[in-house]
Assembly symmetry: C2
């Protein structure tokens, strides 16, 4: 059997009791830190689970995933995944491959920035539209994030923007500069920057993008939420209390 | 201090290690099963945490939340919440109230259907638009869910629909009948029904709404995902392997 176990939003303490029990029962335990950058490592995970945890890299997950699936045909194999499993399509592809080779699979869910963003910012879940990723510039850099923001704003929805992880986790100021190149009018929009979601020293700040780029969020991981054109009064109150929002945010209340 | 601890998607084993430790350290532990219906109870939670867990009802959370906040001024109070905290706006209101009265707060995140739906269905997170809730009919029943589905379809996005919980958790066939009354053309759309997300006996099925209404999903909780007009080939493959999708779903591949 191949068990995908989410290790949750921040470090090894975000694994669920179900996940810990499943990993301890497994014959072999692997972890990957490629699809996200959790604040844990093989040693901490091994200590918690009482068994060796081997780290897999991108090639193990993509080109050589068949090896993992074959191991899971013989033994109970646990794959520890940052956040909630399957948010990265890489894992979904491995699960399909396993099913097609007759290997049973299970998923143990855990916390993810996708739902945590609501608790951190106070923004209502049902007011988020599609999310997107701001990638480092490369020859075929797309303006997809800008299009997603515009499409969401048309239906008065917030946009969660993930920042590229490779070669190193992007920070909010760089993400804002890339957004400015896509559409400089975005600099007047209100957004919430979030650093280290799920950690005790989680930092967040709400302001116009042009101002957020000068705020010191500290180390990664960073994400960015672009607000809808109108916000609910309870969203406003929460951002004022917890995200140091400027008083002019009041103008967005619908 | 007031600590909001998510108990996760299904039962008490979905609490994170961080959440268990925080609840065990707390002076008083409360739980609410109003904003969702987890498959746990006060006794199981008390056994796991080694201390009494008192259940709060809707009035405790809404009209009498000040009492909880006042307790948290004197002692470390943990509030156990199904799923990931703050997805229900009720909790966000309590956190704002606590902050305004000078009470420190913390959130311990956990798994939620909001991210789990991606792992369960294989649908890509960034292809989901706004979500909505299908409520039991009442004099002011809105067609809001239908409008959300239409708006999302315009931007080729999936729609996660929560089903009303009160007075009892709604099931998929009733939700489909209510959608039919809002817009009978929806009956031709493809959707995925999910029952008991996060449980070992999680059930899912993909088909046109008119056919899904005859599928036996078993007991609650149920949710429904209406597919975007076009889906990615990897979404198609996953739904074929894990959601018993009909071959004609192939026509939606973009």
């Amino acid at each position: 059997m191949l068990i995908f176990i989410g290790t949750g939003i921040w470090d090894e303490k975000d694994i669920s009791l179900r996940g810990i029990e499943a990993a301890r029962r497994a014959d072999e335990v692997y972890a990957e830190f490629y699809t996200s950058k959790p604040s844990t490592n093989a040693e901490k995970l091994s200590d918690l689970l009482g068994k060796e945890v081997k780290i897999l890299d991108r090639k193990d997950l993509e080109e050589r995933s068949i090896e993992l699936v074959r191991r899971a045909k013989e033994a109970d194999v646990a794959l520890l995944i940052p956040g909630d499993p399957m948010i990265a399509t890489t894992h979904a592809a491995i699960r399909v491959q396993a099913k097609q080779l007759g290997v049973e699979t299970r998923i143990v869910h855990s916390s993810s920035i996708i739902s945590a963003v609501c608790g951190i910012t106070g923004l209502h879940n049902y007011r988020f539209g599609r999310s997107a990723t701001i990638s480092y510039p490369h020859p075929t850099t797309s303006t997809f994030p800008a299009e997603t923001v515009r499409a969401n704003r048309k239906i008065n929805a917030h946009t969660l923007l993930f920042l590229d992880l490779h070669p190193e986790p992007m920070r909010i100021p760089e993400a804002i500069s890339l957004l400015e190149k896509m559409d400089e009018t975005f600099m007047e929009l209100f957004a919430v920057g979030i650093a280290r979601a799920g950690a005790e020293d989680c930092e967040l700040k709400c302001d116009r993008l042009k101002k957020l780029r000068r705020f010191d969020f500290g180390p990664p991981m960073h994400v960015l939420v672009l607000l809808a054109p109108k916000i609910h009064i309870t969203e406003y109150e929460y951002l004022m209390e917890f995200a140091q929002a400027p008083p002019e945010l009041e103008n967005l209340i619908e």
